[in-house]
């Protein structure tokens, strides 16, 4: 692997790790498979591209993309909690709807190129760090988001959110509105995903309606690779593991591409990586432990007594 490919992988890994942290919130913290991600990632990228090509600030573009992602997550959560549609189906519906919404955001175009526009990655272009401007900006943004997320998950509200994914019965018994927590969690998750999309759009200087396909799988891959290799406790290590998993995923892809894998096979490889990583997790835990834990995971219906 060339030095440039290596550097590029680290940069991409850092930026995509923000998306992966979003997937971590929905998949691990809330225990919900959320496919909204495929749509909200593009929503973030499209929002940012439109704003920036219209002369907007690249920083504000990320914040507004975050808000747009939050809105998308809210819709998924509301379909689930208010209309009682299964979470997975809710997210598929919103993902599909977002495809049209994203095209509308982009004014009917399938892609927007950002030529000679400002981006957050130019921040250090005039300084001594010029050669690593992208890397530094990506690392700083990731760190800020990681720290904010860590502190949030350790607030009273964050505790309530985490417990909701664990045990809704207990959460309601503790006076917490579990539906509200699901809305908050999915909003936050998709907000992060969209922010990541906005950062990627600036990084590669374009937004494309199809850039989100399989994004949730990449997020899952990052989360699971991180867990398998870097462990699952305590919380700060889990979050850091997601970031490292995201970087590792990019390195694996870059390595495969460097070995002559056609870029069109990328999605296939992503799916295989996730399948392998998921099964590796179950082997690592050991079959015995899995079995001994089973009784506690069986949701029993006790209420007909």
């Amino acid at each position: 692997m060339s030095y440039l490919a290596f550097l590029g992988s680290i940069e991409l890994g850092l930026i995509y790790s923000v998306m992966a942290l979003g997937v971590f919130i929905s998949y691990r913290t809330l225990n919900t498979p959320d496919l909204t991600v495929d749509g909200s990632f593009v929503l973030g990228a499209a929002t940012a591209a439109v704003l920036i090509s219209g002369g907007g600030s690249p920083f504000w573009a990320i914040l507004i993309a975050f808000a747009a992602g939050c809105a998308a997550g809210c819709v998924t959560a509301l379909l689930n909690t208010k209309l009682r549609i299964q979470p997975l189906i809710s997210s598929i519906l919103v993902m599909l709807a977002l495809y049209s919404v994203n095209l509308r955001v982009m004014g009917g175009r399938a892609n927007i190129h950002l030529m000679n526009t400002p981006s957050i990655y130019h921040l250090f272009a005039e300084t001594a760090l010029a050669g690593f401007s992208k890397l530094v900006v990506a690392a700083i943004s990731m760190l800020i988001i990681l720290l904010l997320l860590y502190f949030f998950l350790n607030t009273r509200l964050g505790f309530a959110l985490r417990a909701t994914g664990d045990n809704e019965v207990m959460v309601r018994a503790a006076g917490i509105d579990s539906n509200q927590m699901k809305i908050l969690g999915l909003a936050l998750a998709n907000g992060l995903v969209a922010a990541s999309g906005a950062m990627i759009a600036q990084y590669q200087s374009y937004a494309d309606a199809g850039m989100g396909v399989g994004m949730v799988v990449i997020g899952l891959a990052s989360v699971i690779i991180g867990e398998v290799i870097f462990g699952v406790k305590p919380l700060w290590r889990r979050l850091l593991a997601v970031v490292l998993g995201s970087i590792l995923y990019r390195l694996i892809i870059a390595f495969a591409l460097g070995r002559g894998m056609p870029a069109t096979d990328l999605k296939l490889v992503s799916a295989v990586i996730v399948a392998v990583a998921l099964s590796a997790g179950s082997f690592k835990d050991g079959l015995r432990k899995q079995l001994s834990r089973l009784p506690y995971f069986q949701k029993r219906v006790l209420y007909h007594d």
Partner: protein, 264 residues
């Protein structure tokens, strides 16, 4: 204190599986009263507790808690006055969070949940003291995940969580039934101690008739969604398990063919 009038709950109404789980239940609990609830499977015991807790909407009747009509109130809102412990030790705690985090969640029951730190140092100290009272050594394991605890330890922790903010009514749904006999006895002793210290009004479902008569100050027996026996005072003090069974058969007109109830 708590007043239930005409409470009726029908599952799968209008279908072939229609079942009247609660049939016009009237029950009043005085402040600090400890009531044990017995009855066979399908008698309506758990449904009664779940209706009080707001898990199920009711079909008719009224539930008044502390002079507030909570009949239509969503589950999480009335939780502020209730403490609940479930039969399944997995239901009372968040297994992927630490002991202190679980206690913090329970401790914030009536507080606003915003961006304040989830755990403060003085709270940690308080949790350590409270855990020490359980006598299970959990005070040294504040940072352990609950998934590492045994069923009995989890139930003990859940009882503490249910009472750490004093509830107006404690609902115990066979909370010792899933434990081995020795652990069950420990958890029950702990429950009695906490109830006595805080003078809590309590509704406890049990399958153990002996326990039902020994624990608390009043016993009600349910059958087919009705309360068929309500015993307290001298009448209850003189009762033995054998007499209780005879009373049950007399009142319900049914033969008490329930191994779980009899063998205990």
């Amino acid at each position: 204190m708590i007043k239930i009038t005409g409470l009726t709950k029908i599952f799968d109404k209008g279908t072939i599986n229609e079942k009247t789980a609660l049939d016009n239940i009237n029950l009043t609990l005085a402040e600090g009263e400890f009531v044990t609830v017995i009855g066979g499977n399908g008698a309506g015991k758990s449904t009664l507790l779940n209706c009080i807790a707001g898990v199920h909407p009711v079909d008719a009747g009224q539930i008044v808690l502390n002079s507030v009509d909570v009949t239509e109130m969503p589950e999480h809102k009335r939780s502020r006055w209730l403490g609940r412990v479930f039969q399944d030790p997995a239901l009372g705690t968040a297994f992927d969070m630490t002991i202190e985090e679980n206690l913090a969640i329970a401790y914030c029951k009536n507080k606003r949940r915003g961006l304040q730190p989830g755990l403060r140092r003085h709270e940690q100290q308080y949790f350590r003291e409270q855990l020490a009272l359980l006598g299970l050594g959990l005070e040294n394991r504040l940072k352990d995940k609950v998934s590492l605890l045994s069923g009995g330890q989890r139930q003990a922790l859940t009882v503490l969580m249910a009472t750490i903010v004093q509830p107006k009514l404690l609902l115990l749904d066979e909370h010792t039934a899933a434990l081995d006999p020795l652990t069950a006895r420990k958890v029950l002793a702990l429950t009695k101690q906490l109830v006595a210290e805080n003078k809590l009004s309590t509704l406890m479902i049990t399958h153990n008739m002996k326990e039902a008569l020994e624990v608390g100050s009043r016993t009600i027996m349910m059958h087919n969604g009705k309360i068929i026996l309500d015993l307290q005072g001298a009448e209850r003090a003189e009762l033995t398990v054998e007499k209780l069974i005879a009373l049950f058969e007399e009142r319900s007109g049914a033969y008490l063919a329930n191994d779980r109830l009899l063998l205990n």
